[in-house]
């Protein structure tokens, strides 16, 4: 049992657990909307486009969370400018606009990394380093998690309706475009929290994998969100234990554990269909 209990006697492991659970809860609960609103590509893009902000924050000595958030804001504005309003007048579809901005911002991040310092110093931005999250960023992750979960609860019926019937959402005056902006804003917040846990490349896994796994067990929204959060927490705990005991990267270990839960859920679904 030492492999199971000893790791938690270290302060950095307990901090990592708290940070991982905050980011995991926000990403997993929101992930159900990301999956069923067919926004997985937007989630993927949001995580990659944090890179230039993270690099600039690292080089300037600022908070990584603030850098990532600023980067995501620029991304949202860029996507909105290219595809917002009468998109066909500007000739750019939603997914094309996301693709252009996402790859452009990621390329900018790589160039900044190349210009600004050694790859070794900055590689934790790509892969995440949950074991070395600063106290300031740790608090940001907790607050981001609380904001995301509070918004999901407060706007539950409006977010739910706009996810399956945009026309009726507009008809009764809620405004589906407004709700889409809210979801994108929440994804941006959750991604900023997730990036520091598992890194730029793997953050979309925190958004999508637990939600996709939970969808194997239920067809109800709220139970699906709760199961997704539970699975994300399981992945965080198991991933941290794996990383500590086998000396593996923590972020990749967490995502690998989430992927294993997905495979297990898929097999369970096949057996119980």
């Amino acid at each position: 049992m030492a492999w199971l209990l000893d790791p938690w006697s270290y302060g950095f492991m307990r901090d990592a657990l708290a940070a991982g659970m905050s980011a995991g809860a926000a990403c997993a609960a929101l992930g159900v909307y990301v999956v069923f609103r067919r926004m997985a590509f937007a989630g993927e893009a949001m995580s990659h486009t944090t890179l230039p902000g993270l690099v600039m924050a690292q080089l300037g000595g600022w908070s990584l969370a603030v850098g990532a958030l600023a980067s995501n804001l620029l991304t949202a504005l860029g996507i909105g400018f290219l595809s917002g309003g009468p998109s066909h007048r500007r000739g750019v579809r939603d997914d094309a606009a996301i693709g252009v901005v996402f790859t452009g911002m990621f390329a900018l991040g790589v160039i900044l990394m190349s210009l600004g310092g050694s790859w070794r110093d900055l590689s934790h931005l790509i892969l995440g380093n949950i074991l070395a999250v600063s106290p300031g960023d740790h608090w940001f992750m907790v607050v981001a998690g609380i904001v995301v979960l509070t918004a999901l609860i407060a706007l539950h019926k409006e977010l739910e309706l706009s996810s399956y019937d945009a026309a009726y959402t507009d008809l009764i005056g809620i405004g589906s475009a407004r709700l889409k902006c809210v979801v994108l804003g929440l994804v941006a917040l959750a991604v900023v929290a997730g990036v520091q846990v598992v890194g730029v490349i793997l953050t979309s896994a925190l958004l999508i994998t637990p939600a996709a796994s939970a969808a194997m067990f239920t067809r109800r929204l709220v139970p699906m969100m709760l199961i997704a959060v539970g699975l994300a927490w399981m992945a965080v705990v198991a991933g941290l234990l794996l990383a500590f005991n086998a000396d593996l990267p923590a972020g990749a270990s967490i995502v690998a554990c989430a992927a294993i839960t997905f495979v297990a859920a898929w097999i369970w679904r096949r057996l119980h269909r």
Binding site: F36, E158, D170, L171, G173, T218, R219, L221, M224
Partner: protein, 244 residues
């Protein structure tokens, strides 16, 4: 609604003006951005309160565009629309629009009961939850449309006819006075057709007004008070008593 300032879009419940027709459309022209040609051109008619109107025309004749514009989902290029004497969207409670089935994301994890309950959201507004009265209304509607036994079923598991019935149930639960139904009998079974006919007749008896679009009048067993024929975006004929 307990707190009026929580109303969606800041629009409150207005009593219908019984001296005005349920719907008045004058010189309506609708088109999509970037397209010079209008999809609906110079359409004018009125719908008296309690009347049931059929909107017929081949696919692509502009039926759905016209209904969406009346519902406030599309902005007209020119012309005027009044719902019970009010501008479109002035009172979100009064109008309900049943889209074609393909416009709904049926994969979303929501139950039949929850889907129908959404008809009551406009009476709740932001942040408020449906109350006991709202739930009682939903129970009665589910019963009327023979949906009680599948109330816990996910909407993605429903047949075409059941999907049509839950969309009608949501409009009934909303308590709207003007119903805009886009091809409600398209690809549904005989039992669903009979149920829809029964419910529409009851609603008309309560003074509700409705426009039902269809590409085949033969699908409808119940009589209409008039037929609007739309072709190439223009009305071919306006029924007696329905000219504005």
């Amino acid at each position: 609604m307990k707190f009026e300032w929580l109303a969606y879009g800041g629009r409150h419940l207005h009593a219908p003006d019984r001296t005005m027709p349920a719907l008045l459309v004058r010189g309506l022209d609708v088109g999509y951005p970037g397209q010079a040609r209008s999809v609906v051109e110079a359409v004018s008619f009125k719908l008296p309160i309690g009347a049931r109107l059929a909107l017929v025309g081949p696919n692509g004749s502009g039926k759905s565009t016209l209904l969406k514009t009346i519902a406030g989902l599309l902005q007209p290029r020119s012309g005027e629309i009044r719902v019970f004497g009010l501008k479109v969207g002035a009172c979100h409670h009064r109008t309900s629009y049943l889209p074609q089935r393909e416009e709904i994301n049926w994969e979303f994890p929501v139950s039949v009961e929850r889907f129908v309950l959404a008809g009551r959201f406009v009476h709740c507004g932001w942040f408020a939850l449906p109350n006991a009265e709202d739930r009682a209304q939903v129970d009665a509607t589910l019963e009327e449309l023979d949906l009680t036994s599948i109330r816990e079923t996910a909407i993605g598991d429903l047949s075409g006819g059941q999907k049509q019935r839950i969309m009608l149930a949501r409009a009934v639960a909303q308590g709207a006075d003007l119903l805009l139904l886009d091809e409600p009998l398209n690809a549904v079974d005989v039992a669903t057709r009979a149920t829809v006919a029964r419910v529409l007749t009851r609603l008309q008896g309560q003074g509700k007004s409705m426009i039902v679009s269809t590409h085949d009048l033969g699908l409808h067993d119940h009589p209409f008070d008039g037929v609007l024929a739309l072709e190439g975006g223009s009305l071919q004929e306006v029924p007696y008593g329905m000219a504005p």
